[in-house]
């Protein structure tokens, strides 16, 4: 290869440098690299957070058709408590707390709740958000936020329009049941994806499990109103 001829003599003749010099060289390299990384992190952090917030916002609007504004609620002692956005406390937010979003139309009428939920899929955890209408007790929208499901098969949970129509008016009580593709007869059944049974199962399991967490709290909240 041509580059083999280019070995400069000074490298070949160089004496073994002292350990101190080696440590110093790597120390300086690490320090400089750290400075560059911190700089880039600080520069890009606001943009990355904005992207995440916008992705969440557009997902909420998508799963609650006709939604105009929303409020954030958290689950505390089995009750829904409105969460006040406080900029100064934002950094200390506990990421583990369970949040849902109540969406309102332009007359300030409650359309439903956007509920995030996640469940292990075929490859990795599927992170989703779905719209729930507490008056009719049906799911009215479904959106996948994060998934590494197999391209062409499992990714149909968010790419396949037929699968998405399952979530136009899906009854959640007493339980959502997965049926084979094309066998859907009842309002509480989900038409599975052929070739992606595990992914379909994960979605149905996710909806059932997440509803179990929220059902009581949402019902309480609705009867209080």
């Amino acid at each position: 290869m041509s580059e083999d001829q280019n070995i400069t003599p000074e490298i070949a003749e160089e004496k073994e440098p002292s350990s101190l010099k080696l440590i110093a060289a790597l120390g300086i390299a690490g320090l400089l690299s750290g400075i560059i990384l911190v700089g880039t992190y600080i520069y890009t952090l606001p943009m990355i957070e904005k992207n995440k917030a916008e992705a969440m916002k557009s997902a909420i609007f998508k799963v609650l058709p006709g939604c105009d504004s929303y409020e954030t609620f958290k689950l505390e002692n089995e009750k829904l408590i409105q969460k006040v956005e406080d900029e100064s406390k934002k950094r200390e937010d506990n990421n583990d707390e369970l949040l849902i979003y109540a969406g309102y139309d332009n007359n300030k009428e409650l359309i439903g709740f956007a509920i995030p939920g996640s469940e292990p899929g075929f490859q990795d955890i599927i992170v989703t958000i779905f719209g729930y209408d507490p008056n009719a007790k049906v799911i009215i929208g479904f959106e996948v936020l994060e998934s590494k499901e197999t391209p062409g098969l499992g990714d149909k949970i968010f790419k396949d329009a037929d699968f998405q129509t399952n979530f136009k008016e899906l009854v959640v009580d007493p339980e959502i049941i997965l049926v084979k593709n094309g066998k859907k007869e009842n309002a509480y059944e989900v038409d599975g994806i052929s070739g992606a049974t595990i992914s379909s199962k994960a979605v149905v399991g996710l909806l059932n499990n997440t509803m179990t967490v929220w059902r009581m709290a949402i019902d309480d909240y609705m009867s209080d109103k």
Partner: protein, 213 residues
């Protein structure tokens, strides 16, 4: 002057064809197989690798007399990893969808043999100017090869190109092409063509020598 110019062009051109990192050196197989399921992913991966290779080559080449030889590989890795993390942040900030698609494979640019290989065998022994030309040629060759794999995979496997549907409703996508085996099929097929072409060229040259004698 003329010979130096020629040398630069040569270093640039070799990466694109004669020493193409994927088709000839068979380096960087991890991204070549894993993220070539769509043309857009191939292009994004190619450009991200270009950025990392170019920046690392410039830095390694300009610091080549200051990096002590026994720790040079460690130093290269620190430099490469820094730029990879920078790319990771920038993609997440400016193109969140592509960042989501490429996922873990951005971080894995660090271990792409192509990049470390160029630092060790070229940038650390040559001037900055030559290192830039070498890095640009190599990364262009890499991006070209990624697209060579990615475009047919997307057309056959999804019936689209850069997300634009090419065929009507009746097209039945050849799903295996966007699954991992499809990557191996496409790469094997392209390597076959490349090697057949190189072999034929060699045979022609030999025949010419024989005729002359």
């Amino acid at each position: 002057m003329n010979t130096i110019d020629n040398r630069g062009t040569q270093e640039f051109m070799k990466g694109i064809w004669k020493e193409n990192p994927i088709f000839v050196s068979v380096l960087g197989m991890c991204p070549a197989l894993a993220v070539t399921n769509t043309a857009m992913n191939s292009l994004a991966m190619g450009l991200a690798t270009t950025f990392v290779l170019l920046c690392s080559s410039i830095l390694v080449s300009s610091l080549r007399k200051m990096i002590p030889k026994p720790v040079r590989i460690t130093a290269y890795i620190i430099i490469i990893a820094t730029f990879v993390t920078v790319v990771d942040f920038l993609l997440a900030a400016y193109t969140p969808t592509i960042h989501k698609e490429l996922g873990a494979f951005i971080a894995l640019i660090v271990v792409n043999c192509l990049i470390l290989g160029r630092q060790e065998s070229f940038a650390s022994k040559n001037t900055v100017g030559l290192a830039i030309k070498d890095a640009l040629g190599m990364s262009l060759g890499f991006t070209f090869a990624m697209l060579c794999i990615g475009i047919p995979r997307e057309i056959l496997g999804s019936g689209s190109l850069f997300d634009f549907a090419l065929f009507g409703e009746n097209f039945e996508p050849w799903v295996v092409m966007i699954l991992p085996p499809g990557g191996f099929f496409m790469l094997g097929f392209l390597l076959l063509i490349f090697n057949w072409y190189a072999e034929r060229k060699k045979r022609r040259a030999n025949e010419l020598i024989v005729e002359n004698e």
